[in-house]
Amino acid sequence: MRPTLSEQIIGARRVLVELAAPEVSDSYTQEQIAFAASALEHAAARWSEVLPDLVTDIRALEEVLGMEPAVLEEAVPGVVDYEAADEYHRSLRAQLTDEIMSGSEQSPAVRAYLADSTERLR
Protein backbone atom coordinates (compact mmCIF):
# COMPACT_ATOMS: atom_id res chain seq x y z
CA MET A 1 0.00 0.00 0.00
CA ARG A 2 1.26 3.49 -0.81
CA PRO A 3 2.79 5.28 0.77
CA THR A 4 4.63 2.30 2.16
CA LEU A 5 5.90 2.41 5.71
CA SER A 6 9.42 3.05 4.35
CA GLU A 7 8.12 5.97 2.26
CA GLN A 8 6.38 7.45 5.29
CA ILE A 9 9.51 7.17 7.41
CA ILE A 10 11.70 8.69 4.69
CA GLY A 11 9.13 11.49 4.32
CA ALA A 12 9.33 12.23 8.04
CA ARG A 13 13.12 12.24 7.77
CA ARG A 14 12.97 14.78 4.92
CA VAL A 15 10.92 17.12 7.11
CA LEU A 16 13.64 16.97 9.74
CA VAL A 17 16.61 17.29 7.39
CA GLU A 18 15.24 19.70 4.78
CA LEU A 19 12.82 21.81 6.78
CA ALA A 20 13.72 21.77 10.47
CA ALA A 21 17.52 21.44 10.49
CA PRO A 22 18.27 24.54 8.35
CA GLU A 23 16.19 26.67 10.74
CA VAL A 24 18.26 25.59 13.75
CA SER A 25 21.44 27.47 14.65
CA ASP A 26 22.19 25.74 17.95
CA SER A 27 24.80 23.04 17.31
CA TYR A 28 23.55 20.73 20.07
CA THR A 29 20.04 20.69 18.58
CA GLN A 30 21.47 20.18 15.10
CA GLU A 31 23.38 17.17 16.38
CA GLN A 32 20.24 15.62 17.91
CA ILE A 33 18.31 16.16 14.66
CA ALA A 34 21.10 14.41 12.76
CA PHE A 35 20.89 11.42 15.13
CA ALA A 36 17.10 11.29 14.74
CA ALA A 37 17.38 11.46 10.94
CA SER A 38 19.92 8.67 10.97
CA ALA A 39 17.63 6.52 13.12
CA LEU A 40 14.73 7.08 10.70
CA GLU A 41 16.92 6.13 7.76
CA HIS A 42 17.91 2.95 9.60
CA ALA A 43 14.28 2.16 10.43
CA ALA A 44 13.15 2.67 6.83
CA ALA A 45 15.79 0.28 5.57
CA ARG A 46 15.36 -2.35 8.27
CA TRP A 47 11.73 -2.59 9.34
CA SER A 48 10.68 -5.19 6.77
CA GLU A 49 13.56 -7.50 7.75
CA VAL A 50 12.94 -7.41 11.47
CA LEU A 51 10.25 -10.11 11.69
CA PRO A 52 11.89 -12.62 9.30
CA ASP A 53 15.24 -12.16 11.10
CA LEU A 54 13.50 -12.62 14.44
CA VAL A 55 11.93 -15.91 13.34
CA THR A 56 15.23 -17.11 11.86
CA ASP A 57 17.04 -16.30 15.08
CA ILE A 58 14.35 -18.02 17.16
CA ARG A 59 14.76 -21.21 15.13
CA ALA A 60 18.54 -21.06 15.44
CA LEU A 61 18.31 -20.50 19.18
CA GLU A 62 15.86 -23.38 19.60
CA GLU A 63 18.29 -25.62 17.77
CA VAL A 64 21.30 -24.61 19.81
CA LEU A 65 19.30 -25.01 23.01
CA GLY A 66 18.02 -28.44 21.92
CA MET A 67 14.37 -27.37 21.89
CA GLU A 68 11.49 -28.30 19.60
CA PRO A 69 10.36 -25.44 17.33
CA ALA A 70 7.52 -23.53 18.96
CA VAL A 71 4.35 -22.55 17.12
CA LEU A 72 4.67 -18.82 16.56
CA GLU A 73 1.39 -18.32 14.67
CA GLU A 74 -1.10 -18.83 17.47
CA ALA A 75 -3.90 -16.35 16.78
CA VAL A 76 -3.93 -16.26 12.98
CA PRO A 77 -2.48 -19.18 10.98
CA GLY A 78 0.57 -18.04 9.06
CA VAL A 79 0.78 -14.72 10.90
CA VAL A 80 3.35 -14.30 13.63
CA ASP A 81 2.36 -12.25 16.67
CA TYR A 82 5.41 -9.99 16.78
CA GLU A 83 5.12 -9.03 20.44
CA ALA A 84 4.75 -12.66 21.53
CA ALA A 85 7.59 -13.77 19.27
CA ASP A 86 9.83 -11.02 20.59
CA GLU A 87 9.09 -12.06 24.16
CA TYR A 88 9.80 -15.70 23.32
CA HIS A 89 13.03 -14.67 21.57
CA ARG A 90 14.09 -12.78 24.67
CA SER A 91 13.50 -15.86 26.83
CA LEU A 92 15.62 -17.98 24.47
CA ARG A 93 18.43 -15.42 24.51
CA ALA A 94 18.29 -15.40 28.32
CA GLN A 95 18.64 -19.19 28.37
CA LEU A 96 21.61 -19.07 26.01
CA THR A 97 23.21 -16.31 28.06
CA ASP A 98 22.88 -18.45 31.18
CA GLU A 99 24.45 -21.43 29.40
CA ILE A 100 27.36 -19.32 28.17
CA MET A 101 27.96 -17.87 31.60
CA SER A 102 27.90 -21.35 33.12
CA GLY A 103 30.72 -22.43 30.83
CA SER A 104 29.15 -23.88 27.70
CA GLU A 105 30.38 -21.06 25.45
CA GLN A 106 33.00 -23.35 24.00
CA SER A 107 30.52 -26.01 22.83
CA PRO A 108 30.49 -26.42 19.03
CA ALA A 109 26.76 -25.68 18.84
CA VAL A 110 27.06 -22.40 20.72
CA ARG A 111 30.06 -21.34 18.66
CA ALA A 112 28.21 -22.14 15.44
CA TYR A 113 25.20 -20.11 16.54
CA LEU A 114 27.35 -17.10 17.46
CA ALA A 115 29.19 -17.25 14.14
CA ASP A 116 25.93 -17.47 12.16
CA SER A 117 24.18 -14.82 14.24
CA THR A 118 26.69 -12.16 13.15
CA GLU A 119 24.80 -11.88 9.87
CA ARG A 120 21.52 -11.21 11.64
CA LEU A 121 22.90 -8.70 14.11
CA ARG A 122 22.35 -5.13 13.03
Binding site: D26, S27, Y28, Q30, E31, Q32, F35, A36, S38, A39, H42, R90, R93, A94, L96, T97, I100, M101, G103, E105, Q106, P108, V110, R111, A112, L114, A115, S117, T118, L121, R122
Partner: protein, 334 residues
Protein backbone atom coordinates in the same frame (compact mmCIF):
# COMPACT_ATOMS: atom_id res chain seq x y z
CA UNK B 1 21.86 29.17 29.86
CA UNK B 2 18.43 30.28 30.95
CA UNK B 3 16.09 30.84 33.85
CA UNK B 4 16.49 28.82 37.01
CA UNK B 5 19.83 27.43 35.93
CA UNK B 6 21.30 30.94 35.52
CA UNK B 7 20.24 31.80 39.05
CA UNK B 8 21.57 28.51 40.41
CA UNK B 9 24.93 29.01 38.70
CA UNK B 10 25.22 32.56 40.00
CA UNK B 11 24.45 31.36 43.52
CA UNK B 12 26.99 28.55 43.14
CA UNK B 13 29.67 31.06 42.09
CA UNK B 14 28.77 33.60 44.80
CA UNK B 15 29.12 30.88 47.43
CA UNK B 16 32.71 30.42 46.30
CA UNK B 17 33.82 33.95 45.48
CA UNK B 18 32.24 35.50 48.56
CA UNK B 19 31.03 39.10 48.61
CA UNK B 20 32.19 40.55 45.30
CA UNK B 21 30.77 43.32 43.14
CA UNK B 22 29.67 43.31 39.54
CA UNK B 23 29.34 39.57 39.23
CA UNK B 24 28.32 38.75 35.68
CA UNK B 25 27.97 35.39 33.99
CA UNK B 26 27.92 35.46 30.22
CA UNK B 27 26.90 32.11 28.87
CA UNK B 28 26.31 30.68 25.46
CA UNK B 29 24.24 27.78 24.26
CA UNK B 30 25.09 24.28 25.33
CA UNK B 31 28.22 23.23 23.43
CA UNK B 32 28.25 20.39 20.98
CA UNK B 33 30.34 17.34 21.66
CA UNK B 34 30.43 14.95 24.55
CA UNK B 35 27.64 12.40 24.75
CA UNK B 36 28.17 11.78 28.43
CA UNK B 37 28.10 15.29 29.95
CA UNK B 38 26.39 18.61 29.35
CA UNK B 39 29.00 21.19 28.42
CA UNK B 40 28.44 24.91 28.93
CA UNK B 41 31.14 27.47 28.11
CA UNK B 42 30.78 30.77 29.96
CA UNK B 43 32.69 33.92 30.88
CA UNK B 44 32.79 35.13 34.46
CA UNK B 45 33.36 38.80 35.34
CA UNK B 46 33.58 40.31 38.82
CA UNK B 47 35.22 43.10 40.79
CA UNK B 48 37.03 42.63 44.04
CA UNK B 49 39.19 45.11 45.96
CA UNK B 50 38.97 47.62 43.15
CA UNK B 51 40.23 45.11 40.61
CA UNK B 52 38.31 43.73 37.67
CA UNK B 53 38.51 40.03 37.05
CA UNK B 54 37.59 37.88 34.07
CA UNK B 55 37.83 34.12 33.71
CA UNK B 56 36.96 31.88 30.80
CA UNK B 57 35.30 28.83 32.28
CA UNK B 58 33.58 25.65 31.27
CA UNK B 59 30.85 23.85 33.16
CA UNK B 60 30.45 20.09 32.79
CA UNK B 61 27.24 18.76 34.30
CA UNK B 62 25.82 15.24 34.39
CA UNK B 63 22.85 14.94 32.05
CA UNK B 64 19.55 13.32 33.04
CA UNK B 65 20.43 10.32 30.90
CA UNK B 66 24.04 9.64 30.00
CA UNK B 67 26.12 7.00 28.26
CA UNK B 68 28.52 6.84 31.18
CA UNK B 69 27.69 6.92 34.85
CA UNK B 70 30.84 8.23 36.45
CA UNK B 71 31.57 10.22 39.58
CA UNK B 72 32.32 13.94 39.15
CA UNK B 73 34.05 13.98 42.55
CA UNK B 74 36.61 11.39 41.40
CA UNK B 75 37.30 13.21 38.11
CA UNK B 76 37.61 16.52 39.96
CA UNK B 77 39.96 15.15 42.62
CA UNK B 78 42.16 13.46 40.02
CA UNK B 79 42.42 16.63 37.95
CA UNK B 80 43.10 18.72 41.06
CA UNK B 81 46.02 16.43 41.91
CA UNK B 82 47.31 16.50 38.32
CA UNK B 83 47.41 20.29 38.15
CA UNK B 84 51.09 20.51 39.17
CA UNK B 85 52.10 17.34 37.36
CA UNK B 86 53.83 17.17 33.96
CA UNK B 87 50.70 16.33 31.98
CA UNK B 88 48.46 18.41 29.75
CA UNK B 89 45.30 18.12 31.82
CA UNK B 90 42.73 20.89 32.36
CA UNK B 91 42.62 22.96 35.53
CA UNK B 92 39.52 22.34 37.63
CA UNK B 93 38.03 25.20 39.61
CA UNK B 94 34.86 24.26 41.48
CA UNK B 95 32.77 21.17 42.15
CA UNK B 96 29.14 20.45 42.95
CA UNK B 97 29.64 16.78 43.77
CA UNK B 98 26.08 15.84 44.62
CA UNK B 99 24.18 18.27 42.41
CA UNK B 100 22.62 20.01 45.38
CA UNK B 101 23.47 23.43 43.93
CA UNK B 102 23.30 22.99 40.15
CA UNK B 103 20.58 20.38 39.88
CA UNK B 104 22.92 17.56 38.95
CA UNK B 105 26.59 16.82 39.74
CA UNK B 106 28.83 19.29 37.93
CA UNK B 107 32.27 20.78 37.87
CA UNK B 108 33.70 24.02 36.58
CA UNK B 109 37.04 24.08 34.84
CA UNK B 110 39.24 26.56 33.04
CA UNK B 111 38.23 27.02 29.41
CA UNK B 112 41.16 26.87 27.01
CA UNK B 113 41.56 28.43 23.61
CA UNK B 114 41.94 26.04 20.76
CA UNK B 115 39.81 23.98 18.49
CA UNK B 116 38.49 20.46 18.78
CA UNK B 117 38.41 18.15 15.78
CA UNK B 118 37.52 14.46 16.07
CA UNK B 119 38.78 13.63 12.60
CA UNK B 120 41.78 15.90 12.32
CA UNK B 121 44.00 12.99 11.26
CA UNK B 122 41.79 12.52 8.20
CA UNK B 123 41.92 16.22 7.37
CA UNK B 124 39.08 17.35 9.60
CA UNK B 125 37.90 20.95 9.46
CA UNK B 126 41.26 22.67 8.90
CA UNK B 127 42.49 20.35 6.15
CA UNK B 128 46.12 20.13 7.39
CA UNK B 129 48.50 18.45 4.97
CA UNK B 130 49.66 14.88 5.54
CA UNK B 131 52.95 15.84 7.18
CA UNK B 132 51.09 18.04 9.67
CA UNK B 133 48.61 15.25 10.35
CA UNK B 134 51.42 12.75 10.90
CA UNK B 135 52.95 15.25 13.32
CA UNK B 136 49.68 15.46 15.24
CA UNK B 137 49.43 11.65 15.36
CA UNK B 138 52.95 11.54 16.77
CA UNK B 139 52.05 14.14 19.41
CA UNK B 140 49.05 12.00 20.44
CA UNK B 141 51.50 9.21 21.30
CA UNK B 142 53.60 11.65 23.33
CA UNK B 143 50.46 12.69 25.17
CA UNK B 144 49.70 9.08 26.05
CA UNK B 145 53.28 8.50 27.19
CA UNK B 146 53.04 11.64 29.35
CA UNK B 147 50.06 10.11 31.16
CA UNK B 148 51.65 6.70 31.62
CA UNK B 149 54.82 8.28 33.01
CA UNK B 150 52.96 10.05 35.81
CA UNK B 151 54.08 9.35 39.35
CA UNK B 152 50.61 8.44 40.54
CA UNK B 153 51.70 7.64 44.07
CA UNK B 154 53.56 10.92 44.36
CA UNK B 155 50.54 12.77 43.02
CA UNK B 156 48.29 11.04 45.55
CA UNK B 157 46.03 9.50 42.95
CA UNK B 158 45.74 6.32 45.01
CA UNK B 159 43.78 8.43 47.50
CA UNK B 160 40.92 8.68 44.97
CA UNK B 161 41.46 5.79 42.55
CA UNK B 162 41.46 2.08 43.34
CA UNK B 163 44.75 0.25 42.79
CA UNK B 164 43.77 -2.96 41.00
CA UNK B 165 45.60 -6.19 41.81
CA UNK B 166 44.69 -7.46 38.35
CA UNK B 167 43.87 -4.60 35.94
CA UNK B 168 42.42 -6.84 33.22
CA UNK B 169 40.14 -8.65 35.64
CA UNK B 170 39.08 -5.34 37.18
CA UNK B 171 38.25 -3.93 33.74
CA UNK B 172 36.18 -6.97 32.78
CA UNK B 173 34.34 -6.87 36.10
CA UNK B 174 33.64 -3.14 35.78
CA UNK B 175 32.19 -3.23 32.26
CA UNK B 176 30.38 -6.55 32.73
CA UNK B 177 28.64 -4.94 35.71
CA UNK B 178 27.63 -1.96 33.56
CA UNK B 179 26.16 -4.29 30.92
CA UNK B 180 24.36 -6.31 33.59
CA UNK B 181 22.94 -3.15 35.17
CA UNK B 182 22.01 -1.26 32.01
CA UNK B 183 20.97 -3.83 29.43
CA UNK B 184 17.26 -4.03 28.69
CA UNK B 185 17.60 -7.51 27.20
CA UNK B 186 19.78 -10.63 27.41
CA UNK B 187 23.14 -10.28 25.63
CA UNK B 188 24.46 -13.77 24.73
CA UNK B 189 27.17 -12.45 22.41
CA UNK B 190 28.49 -10.10 25.08
CA UNK B 191 28.35 -12.96 27.59
CA UNK B 192 30.48 -14.98 25.19
CA UNK B 193 32.92 -12.08 24.82
CA UNK B 194 33.12 -11.71 28.60
CA UNK B 195 34.03 -15.38 28.92
CA UNK B 196 36.58 -15.03 26.09
CA UNK B 197 38.19 -12.12 27.90
CA UNK B 198 38.32 -14.01 31.19
CA UNK B 199 40.14 -16.88 29.44
CA UNK B 200 42.52 -14.60 27.56
CA UNK B 201 43.27 -11.86 30.05
CA UNK B 202 46.91 -10.79 30.33
CA UNK B 203 48.88 -11.18 33.52
CA UNK B 204 49.10 -8.10 35.73
CA UNK B 205 52.01 -5.82 34.96
CA UNK B 206 53.13 -2.34 35.91
CA UNK B 207 50.32 -0.11 37.19
CA UNK B 208 50.06 3.33 35.57
CA UNK B 209 47.49 6.04 35.12
CA UNK B 210 45.14 5.10 32.27
CA UNK B 211 43.12 7.90 30.70
CA UNK B 212 40.59 5.55 29.14
CA UNK B 213 39.45 7.75 26.25
CA UNK B 214 42.45 9.24 24.45
CA UNK B 215 41.38 10.53 21.05
CA UNK B 216 41.64 13.72 18.99
CA UNK B 217 37.99 14.40 19.85
CA UNK B 218 39.04 14.93 23.47
CA UNK B 219 41.94 17.25 22.63
CA UNK B 220 42.09 20.98 22.07
CA UNK B 221 44.50 21.92 19.28
CA UNK B 222 46.28 25.18 18.55
CA UNK B 223 46.82 24.85 14.84
CA UNK B 224 48.61 21.54 14.57
CA UNK B 225 49.79 21.50 18.18
CA UNK B 226 48.18 19.42 20.93
CA UNK B 227 47.28 21.80 23.77
CA UNK B 228 45.29 19.96 26.41
CA UNK B 229 43.53 16.62 26.87
CA UNK B 230 39.97 16.95 28.12
CA UNK B 231 37.40 14.50 29.44
CA UNK B 232 39.07 12.50 32.20
CA UNK B 233 35.89 10.83 33.43
CA UNK B 234 37.14 7.29 32.73
CA UNK B 235 40.59 7.85 34.26
CA UNK B 236 41.76 4.99 36.46
CA UNK B 237 44.84 3.10 37.54
CA UNK B 238 45.53 0.06 35.42
CA UNK B 239 47.52 -1.45 32.58
CA UNK B 240 49.07 1.05 30.16
CA UNK B 241 48.29 -1.38 27.32
CA UNK B 242 44.63 -0.52 27.86
CA UNK B 243 45.19 2.97 26.41
CA UNK B 244 47.33 1.53 23.60
CA UNK B 245 44.54 -0.95 22.82
CA UNK B 246 41.97 1.86 22.88
CA UNK B 247 43.83 3.97 20.31
CA UNK B 248 44.60 0.99 18.05
CA UNK B 249 41.06 -0.41 18.17
CA UNK B 250 40.24 -1.28 14.54
CA UNK B 251 36.83 0.37 14.91
CA UNK B 252 38.43 3.73 15.71
CA UNK B 253 41.11 3.71 13.03
CA UNK B 254 39.61 6.71 11.27
CA UNK B 255 40.22 8.80 14.42
CA UNK B 256 43.72 7.56 15.22
CA UNK B 257 45.36 6.48 11.99
CA UNK B 258 46.40 7.84 8.60
CA UNK B 259 46.14 5.12 5.96
CA UNK B 260 49.53 4.24 4.52
CA UNK B 261 51.32 6.75 6.74
CA UNK B 262 50.45 6.14 10.38
CA UNK B 263 48.73 2.86 11.06
CA UNK B 264 48.28 0.82 14.23
CA UNK B 265 51.67 -0.89 13.90
CA UNK B 266 53.40 2.50 13.49
CA UNK B 267 51.65 3.82 16.57
CA UNK B 268 52.67 0.85 18.71
CA UNK B 269 56.24 0.95 17.37
CA UNK B 270 56.51 4.65 18.17
CA UNK B 271 55.21 4.03 21.69
CA UNK B 272 57.70 1.21 22.24
CA UNK B 273 60.65 3.14 20.79
CA UNK B 274 59.96 6.24 22.89
CA UNK B 275 59.30 4.41 26.16
CA UNK B 276 61.59 1.40 25.90
CA UNK B 277 58.61 -0.73 26.85
CA UNK B 278 57.39 -3.71 24.88
CA UNK B 279 53.66 -4.09 24.30
CA UNK B 280 52.76 -7.77 24.35
CA UNK B 281 50.71 -8.37 21.18
CA UNK B 282 48.36 -10.88 22.81
CA UNK B 283 47.73 -8.40 25.62
CA UNK B 284 47.16 -5.67 23.04
CA UNK B 285 44.56 -7.83 21.32
CA UNK B 286 42.84 -8.42 24.65
CA UNK B 287 42.66 -4.67 25.30
CA UNK B 288 41.35 -4.01 21.78
CA UNK B 289 38.54 -6.48 22.49
CA UNK B 290 37.97 -4.83 25.88
CA UNK B 291 37.76 -1.46 24.09
CA UNK B 292 34.80 -2.58 22.01
CA UNK B 293 33.20 -4.42 24.94
CA UNK B 294 33.42 -1.11 26.83
CA UNK B 295 31.92 0.74 23.86
CA UNK B 296 29.09 -1.82 23.76
CA UNK B 297 28.44 -1.11 27.45
CA UNK B 298 28.37 2.62 26.69
CA UNK B 299 25.92 2.15 23.80
CA UNK B 300 23.72 -0.09 25.96
CA UNK B 301 23.67 2.63 28.61
CA UNK B 302 22.65 5.13 25.93
CA UNK B 303 19.90 2.81 24.69
CA UNK B 304 18.53 2.54 28.21
CA UNK B 305 18.58 6.32 28.63
CA UNK B 306 16.71 6.67 25.34
CA UNK B 307 14.13 3.97 26.11
CA UNK B 308 13.60 5.48 29.58
CA UNK B 309 13.00 8.93 28.02
CA UNK B 310 16.01 10.41 29.81
CA UNK B 311 17.74 11.61 26.64
CA UNK B 312 16.65 12.99 23.27
CA UNK B 313 19.57 11.29 21.53
CA UNK B 314 18.15 8.44 19.48
CA UNK B 315 20.42 5.45 20.00
CA UNK B 316 20.61 2.41 17.76
CA UNK B 317 21.57 -0.88 19.42
CA UNK B 318 25.00 -2.42 19.92
CA UNK B 319 24.56 -4.87 17.03
CA UNK B 320 27.45 -3.56 14.94
CA UNK B 321 29.76 -3.63 17.96
CA UNK B 322 28.84 -7.20 18.80
CA UNK B 323 29.52 -8.18 15.19
CA UNK B 324 32.94 -6.60 15.42
CA UNK B 325 33.64 -8.28 18.77
CA UNK B 326 32.81 -11.67 17.26
CA UNK B 327 35.13 -10.89 14.35
CA UNK B 328 37.91 -9.92 16.77
CA UNK B 329 37.61 -13.28 18.51
CA UNK B 330 36.72 -15.16 15.34
CA UNK B 331 39.35 -17.84 15.21
CA UNK B 332 37.77 -19.52 18.23
CA UNK B 333 34.40 -19.65 16.51
CA UNK B 334 35.74 -21.84 13.69
Amino acid sequence: MTGDFDAALEGFIRARLGEVDGLRVEGEARAIGGQSRENWPFDLHWQDGGQSHHRQLFLRRDPVGSVLETDRRVEFEVLRRLHDQPVRAPEVVWLDADGSELGRPAMVMTRYDGHNDHFILQGGDGRPDEDSRAGIASQMVDLMIEIHALDWKGAGLDEVLAVPADPAEAAIDEWAAVIERQSLEPQPVLAYIEQWMRRNRPDPGEITVVHGDIKPGNVLFDGDQVQVLLDWETVHLGDLAEDVGWVTNPLRRVEHQIPGRWEAADLVSAYEARTGRTIDRDALRFWQVLANYKLAAIVITGVRSFCDDRTLRVWLGAGQLTKLLLAQTAEELG
